[in-house]
Point group: C2
């Protein structure tokens, strides 16, 4: 490691099971994804400290099929190839590295422009789920799918999402733009998917709670009216974390989708030249 060397910027794409973690963000005394990842990366790269940035913080219990994390390291690039297997084996069964790329120095998982998709799985069957229990919200009620579909379409576009963010959300600007939203039936489940550049705190879980409230009839307002009210009390409950998964994050710098999705080619570990 030469002293004048500039750091390398690394991007990791991760799958994780949120069940055993207190969310993404490192916190003293709690087992978090950032904390565990930090611990094992310091060991692998033999660095005293790293600053890990995720595309966004996932709440306690929320899963990821394609979270993106970036950090800078002065470690020798020859060590980099140990990262995917090192992280996957040190956090066995809980975190898996789907891809790794060397990025231009200005890349930052949070601040580089991107789109991301979350999905939320609602399990409808009356009998409790077993095999899928950690990944779904069990809603054994009669649901009005037509009203739920309408509510889903009404979150599309640019809105002030004050009604649908956590009451302790600290973002200055409550306006967000939803690029895609859909609600599809799949076997015993109803799956909600939403794509945007950014989300407010607990926004997806509050949207799902409201859609389900509209589906059961507990909420008489339309989603449009809930949003227009700019009042958290008009919306539904916060849907449980375990049903939520961060599916993917796509950056403007991405060359092709396979690099984001953990498909076959992602493990080629093509290291882009830093300009």
């Amino acid at each position: 490691m030469s002293e004048n060397k500039r750091p390398s910027t690394i991007k990791l794409t991760l799958e994780y099971n949120g069940s055993g973690f207190s969310g993404w963000q490192e916190q003293p005394g709690l087992r978090t994804i950032q904390g565990e990842l930090h611990r094992v990366l310091k060991t692998i790269l033999r660095e005293p400290a790293l600053e890990l940035t995720a595309s966004g913080r996932t709440d306690s219990g929320v899963h990821a099929l394609g979270q993106v994390v970036s950090f800078k390291t002065f470690a020798d690039p020859e060590i980099f190839e140990k990262i995917p297997y090192g992280v996957t084996s040190l956090l066995r069964g809980e975190v898996s590295v789907l891809g790794m790329q060397l990025m231009p120095p200005d890349f930052n998982a949070r601040f580089s422009k991107h789109l991301k998709q979350y999905s939320y799985r609602i399990f409808r069957r009356r009998a409790a789920p077993i095999l899928e229990k950690d990944f779904v919200w069990h809603v054994p009620k009669t649901l009005d799918l037509t009203r739920m579909q309408e509510a889903t379409l009404e979150v599309l576009g640019q809105h002030d999402f004050t009604s649908l963010r956590s009451s302790d959300c600290v973002a200055n600007n409550p306006i967000r733009t939803v690029d895609h939203a859909e609600l599809v039936e799949s076997g015993n489940e109803i799956v909600f998917r939403i794509v945007a550049r950014g989300f407010l705190k607990q926004m997806v879980r509050n949207i799902v709670g409201t859609i389900v409230g509209i589906g059961t009839g507990k909420i008489a307002l339309s989603m449009k009216d809930v949003i227009a009210a700019k009042d958290r009390a008009k919306a539904g409950m916060t849907a449980p974390a375990r049903g939520l998964t961060l599916d993917w994050v796509r950056y403007e710098t991405d060359i092709d989708e396979e690099k984001v999705h953990g498909a076959k080619r992602i493990f080629h570990h093509e290291l882009l030249t830093t300009s």
Copy 2:
């Protein structure tokens, strides 16, 4: 409970996660599905002992989306309706009762004529699975799908499956008839499905191990030749239990499929009149 009363015959359809159990069969000192189910049913029905029969014994670690179990009870039929919620809550997160039916006295989950389907999930992506890890076999190798498809079709029909049963299988007759077999790609997975009236010990896991061995090139013989050899040593390894799920069991006496599948109507608990 009148002394002259004849017992009722009950059929339960169950979903379970095999991960925490040493298989179906009750055994001293081991936590088994039959053992746990026996324990909670005795409590619910207030009977000293029950004889529980499954359509077939699942191995340690094998899951079920629709196992069928039958037993006879002298308990008051008014207690029966407590069974689904009682079992599901006492074995929370591990066993769920999808359906319950009162059956004619000659019904027996094992001996009444039926077909059953198993599925086996092979996870192909190079990076280790996380969300699906308890339900798949991770095979991060290049697989020749064409040869695997051929092998799958060659198990169809009536054969002496000596090559593909466990060496300690005690069945007198090694001949079984496979009514349906398929191998389909689905995202990161290859899913194998097989339907038959009955299977030999570890037959499905040995078939899958052999299909994968053929796919990687480790086994040069065709499935047809493996079967013709009547020699366990010619076949592949026993695929891990966690990838295997008993999907459903259908009896000749079933009125409609929904009763087997845990779909909406299954919880109506229609009690058939015993003739």
